[in-house]
């Protein structure tokens, strides 16, 4: 559970059980997976949120462009994203892990 901070706490047990079931051949791929740090996303969001950089960083290009074109959603979306970016990053990490686990 050293990677615990990369995921939502309520997903951790589910991930643990899946990791125990998974075939050993996938182990090397799982170990090389790169996860995005939610704290880094938050720092980027605080500094460059108005330009949508936080959304670009987590691979959410569409919404990033949306934020960039609208001065960070008239400033409101920027503030909302200070709170949403950490869960969004954890969700992205879960998707990344699931792509390996369920293929």
């Amino acid at each position: 559970m050293t990677n615990g901070k990369f995921f939502e706490s309520h997903h951790l047990m589910q991930i643990r059980e899946k990791l125990l079931q998974v075939d050993d051949s996938k182990w090397s791929i799982i170990q090389t997976l790169q996860f995005k740090d939610p704290t880094t996303s938050l720092i980027i969001s605080l500094l460059g949120g108005s330009l949508g950089i936080d959304r670009f960083i987590i691979g959410d290009t569409g919404l990033g462009v949306g934020k960039l074109l609208t001065c960070g959603g008239l400033g409101i979306w920027t503030i909302v994203d200070w709170f949403l970016i950490m869960p969004a990053t954890r969700e992205l990490n879960l998707t990344t892990l699931q792509q390996v686990l369920y293929v």
Binding site: G59, L63, L68, C71, G73
Partner: protein, 135 residues
């Protein structure tokens, strides 16, 4: 990023609704300025998209030259503000996913270096121009 069709449509409809609400607000009260831009307030430097509202307003009055000189991004915004609601209405009425697939394709395309690099360069040039104009 993977997102379900319905959650994307919810985000897009909220964004479009807010956009039109903002436009009507500005039309009603008759002033459009960079009051809402955090970057402009904090650093006194305009952001790449400062002046877009004024540009869209100029486009609505048919003044294309004025719109281009204020901020060329206004053209992109007005296209998005026409295409997205139309796509949303068509998809919701007929239960299709045209807009969802178009969104995913454009997102995929924007990540390609041969598209991303010119777009970023254009955005930076526009930003420098914005700063020079002190919009």
């Amino acid at each position: 990023m993977m997102r379900s069709r319905n959650s994307l449509y919810l985000i897009l409809s909220t964004a479009c609704f807010s956009g039109y609400l903002w436009l009507f607000w500005v039309l009603w009260f008759g002033h459009a300025s960079a009051e809402v831009c955090i970057i402009k307030h904090v650093t006194d430097i305009p952001c790449p998209s400062c002046g877009t509202t004024r540009s869209v307003m100029a486009l609505l009055q048919g003044d294309f030259m004025m719109a281009a000189s204020l901020n060329p991004l206004g053209f992109i915004i007005i296209i998005i503000m026409i295409v997205v609601p139309t796509g949303l209405i068509i998809d919701c009425l007929w239960g299709k996913s045209y807009l969802f697939f178009a969104y995913q394709k454009s997102e995929h395309l924007l990540k390609k270096p041969y598209v991303a690099v010119p777009v970023i360069a254009g955005m930076l040039i526009n930003w420098i121009w914005n700063i020079m104009k002190a919009i």
